[in-house]
Amino acid sequence: MAVTPGYLHPLDKHLRLDRIPTLYCPGCGLGIGLGAMLRALDKRISEGVVDRNKVVWVGGIGCTARMAFYVSYDSAHVLHGRAIPFATGVKLANPELTLIVVGGDGDIAGIGGNHLLHAAKRNMDMITVMFTNFVYAMTGGQVAPTTPLGVRTTTTPHGNPEPPLNIIKVVASLNANYVARASVTTPHYIEQFFYRALGMKGFRFIEVVSTCPEVYGRHIGLRDPVEMYNELKKRVKYKPNPTIDEALIDWEKGIIIGEFMVRDNPSYLEIIRGLK
């Protein structure tokens, strides 16, 4: 069998091809999300809004965080939960750079939750894309901040006793300029929201609801990637200009996606430039 050739797929020029295929399990939603983000980035680069050589991808630890080392950009695969403070240092030391932080809900909202709060509060100039797959996947299926109540995981064998975190409501309550939610079953919205975020300043946050058929799917009896994809798709509903109160994320009642917050508050860099 022949080796995988050079640039073929339209996104190949954005990937470290020698690391493709990814380590993601078959049917993992992360690749869909990454593809959508790269299409948006490609557009912004061709428009001249973003300089390809001034983009830095930062990931903490976890399946999602690995996106950072699959892209052929300046990138960093750092510590669990610490992508946002790392990116903060990068951005402040060289404000020319465009910072893209990628991470799962455990990485960004769990162990890194305090950093997320403070980056949003500061309106720090970076984009954070958090993939919510309801579980700690890389470590083998433990409960996550977003795991629904009652779900059995490897560390909650009698059912998760904690109600899940609705991260959109948390971030929107702070000073972030952009707060949106999409789903891997709606890659065009991921692309659209990320495209918009790339043209803004301040803290931009996108939650992408994702599928983890291998680990979370096993917990809820949807191990087949297609089945899980379709079950998620059924629950996801786009709403134009939704309010924060409408940011429902509930496996039973539905998942509302859309742009919950779009504003132009002064970003951290703008404020410190004004103070000098």
Binding site: M1, A2, T4, L8, G29, P225, V226
Partner: protein
Amino acid sequence: MGTTYSSLGLITRENQRYRVTVIVDRCKECGICISVCPTKVLVKSSVLNKYGYRPPEPAHIEKCIGCRLCEYNCPDFAIFVEVASK
């Protein structure tokens, strides 16, 4: 009848307007592309790639409407759609 593919490891089929290409060794056989295709262009092929997965084959390429849902929903950058050159 077995699926055929090029020495570059690509399965390529085209109709008058669109060409669909599958990069055989990137596919993990998740089946999402087959599921999302609104006109049922794709079927599982008979090829086993180097990881033991069976990639899709655009067996009914004549039905392709160029919506790219397969490309956008493929988690592994393994399938893409182009406008066929005249």
